[in-house]
């Protein structure tokens, strides 16, 4: 059986700045912007907007100055090439995307393969709300209150056989419903993969919701992967198949540009993308950039997974 490293204790909720403070700050900011033009330079350094809604869930691995990104941004600034390559496209184009009925196939090196209706699929685990950092490979980031189950629960139910080493995920392929798939931007359907121990890690989630509601289509409805210590594009959306294999699966971006995207894609400020630095990131809603943290701030929980590995080579 796999041994996974313990999850470090979560940050105490007292360390998170109360929402009320942010709301006050926003009012002050608006007032400052309207009335005191002279201090404009100073106020631009402050967060542009505060969290618009109550964010449900436990804040996993957050720093004291991490505040959930407003719903508006989480649901309107999305890379989901199945619905267009512009970040505003998914929210517009995916509006009519039907996600019921939805079947998820679990297959490969497991004793109990199966086709599950989404409602039955999520019965594998307990639905939880968790607030994670989200770091895009394009050097922007968010803080997102996800709702979902642990991938480990799904895998345990399927019972991987001894040869199992990797997990491969596949997005729905249906160009009539996902018009972006009519353009050969990537090789469709989108595919992603994790090592089995990464997949079994207690931070790895299959999300069905955000901000306590069902996932909006543009965020990968009805089921998407969330691996908070990896770049966002590992979080494959609208999953229809989970296959357990003995060899490393092909992944969409690695297939598209192998010199830029590897298999692991761990957030790492010391390994640059060939075209830009990964040392810093712009948190959506903030003006000043913040330093990017190793494993996106989840080093305590996940670094043992990569002990002895050359992360420069295994990017």
């Amino acid at each position: 059986m796999l041994i996974h490293p313990p999850v470090a204790p979560d940050l105490r909720s007292s360390a998170i700045t109360p929402e009320a403070l942010y709301l006050t700050r926003r009012e002050w900011l608006a007032a400052a912007g309207l009335t005191v033009g002279a201090i404009a330079g100073v106020s631009t350094l402050l967060p542009r907007k505060a969290a618009a809604q109550q964010a449900p869930g436990k804040p996993y691995g957050l720093q004291s100055d991490d505040t959930p990104t407003p719903w508006e941004d989480v649901t309107s600034y999305n890379n989901f090439y199945e619905f267009g390559t512009d970040k505003g496209d998914p929210a517009r184009v995916a509006r009519g995307f039907r996600t019921r009925p939805w079947t998820v196939k679990v297959e490969g090196l497991v004793s109990k393969p199966g086709d599950y209706a989404l409602e039955d699929f999520v019965k594998a685990g307990r639905v939880e709300d968790r607030i994670y950092r989200h770091r895009c490979v394009e050097a922007w980031s968010m803080v997102i209150p996800w709702r979902g189950i642990m991938l480990a629960d799904v895998l345990k139910r399927a019972e991987p056989t001894p040869g199992a080493k990797f997990v491969e995920f596949t997005t729905l392929y249906d160009p009539s419903r996902m018009p972006g798939q009519r353009q050969p931007v990537l090789r469709w359907p989108y595919a992603e993969g994790l090592r089995l121990d990464e997949a079994m890690h207690p931070l790895t989630m299959l999300a069905t919701g955000v901000y306590g509601r069902d996932l909006p289509n543009q965020n990968g409805a009805p089921l998407r992967l969330v691996v908070p210590w990896k770049y966002g594009f590992k979080g494959i959306k609208s999953i229809v198949r989970i296959r357990i294999t003995d060899r490393q699966p092909t992944t969409a971006w690695n297939d598209s540009a192998p010199n830029e995207y590897g298999f692991y894609c761990n957030v790492n400020p010391t390994v640059d993308h060939p075209r830009w630095s990964q040392a810093k990131e712009r948190r959506i809603g903030e003006f000043l950039r913040r330093p990017t943290l190793m494993f996106n701030g989840y080093a305590d929980q996940v670094e043992l997974l990569y002990a002895g590995m050359d992360l420069r080579r295994n990017y």
């Binding site: 353009q183 990537l186 060939p274 959506i284």
Partner: protein
């Protein structure tokens, strides 16, 4: 057309009275509007530039530069093909708009995006090909902008014409910069490279025709009657 001159040159319409207003609006409004939108988004909480205003504004200024370049390089073909000779005087306006927008794009990148992080700027400008190429496009435009005054034109005479042929390098570098900067969707840069190919191709074809015509004329002169 009845009033086609020698070599089929056509007489176009007169310049509409509102034309200069249109040109000035086209070059003076969009750039400052992008900056104003950024300020409003951060200070007033508007969402004119979406969720990532710094990035969006940077991209908008880059694309705006490309559009002004199209306008600059379209002046001569449009003038010749439609006979709008009055368009000539707008060429410098569009060219300077392209230069200042490119400069704003670079300043936006270094001040607002990279936020004067010296290490990253140095790394970007020495290691990242698409940034080097984009910067080269800006550098090429500097002598063109500096010699855009009447005085410079008068002083440089024929050398001005030679120097300003450098403008043809700008869209090539600019498109390379854009193309290399996108992750997977090369559609928009591909579209604009087709536009530039037409604009530059037309010039090449004109130049070639001129030499061939010249050669034929010379041959005709020496041919005994």
């Amino acid at each position: 057309m009845s009033d086609a001159g020698p070599r089929g040159r056509v007489q176009g319409i007169q310049r509409p009275r509102w034309w200069p207003w249109l040109v000035w609006a086209a070059v003076l409004i969009p750039g400052p509007a992008v900056l104003a939108a950024l300020v409003a988004d951060f200070l007033l909480g508007t969402r004119w530039l979406g969720s990532n205003p710094v990035k969006e504004g940077e991209l908008l200024l880059g694309q705006l530069t490309i559009k002004y370049l199209v306008a600059t390089l379209a002046v001569t073909p449009v003038r010749r093909l439609l006979g709008w000779n009055w368009l000539q005087r707008d060429r410098r306006t569009f060219g300077l708009a392209a230069f200042f927008t490119a400069l704003a794009h670079f300043l936006w990148y270094s001040l607002l995006d990279v936020q004067l992080d010296g290490g990253q700027l140095a790394e970007d400008l020495t290691k990242r090909t698409y940034i080097i190429v984009g910067f080269a496009a800006l550098v090429v435009m500097v002598p063109l902008a500096l010699t855009s005054t009447r005085a410079a034109i008068a002083r440089l005479r024929r050398r001005w014409v030679t120097l300003h042929r450098l403008v043809y390098a700008v869209p090539v570098l600019g498109i390379m910069h854009w193309w290399m900067s996108v992750k997977a969707d090369v559609g928009p840069p591909a579209l604009y490279s087709a536009v530039f190919a037409l604009l530059l191709g037309w010039r090449w074809w004109q130049a070639r025709r001129a030499t061939v015509d010249g050669r034929l004329a010379r041959r005709r002169e020496i041919r005994p009657h």
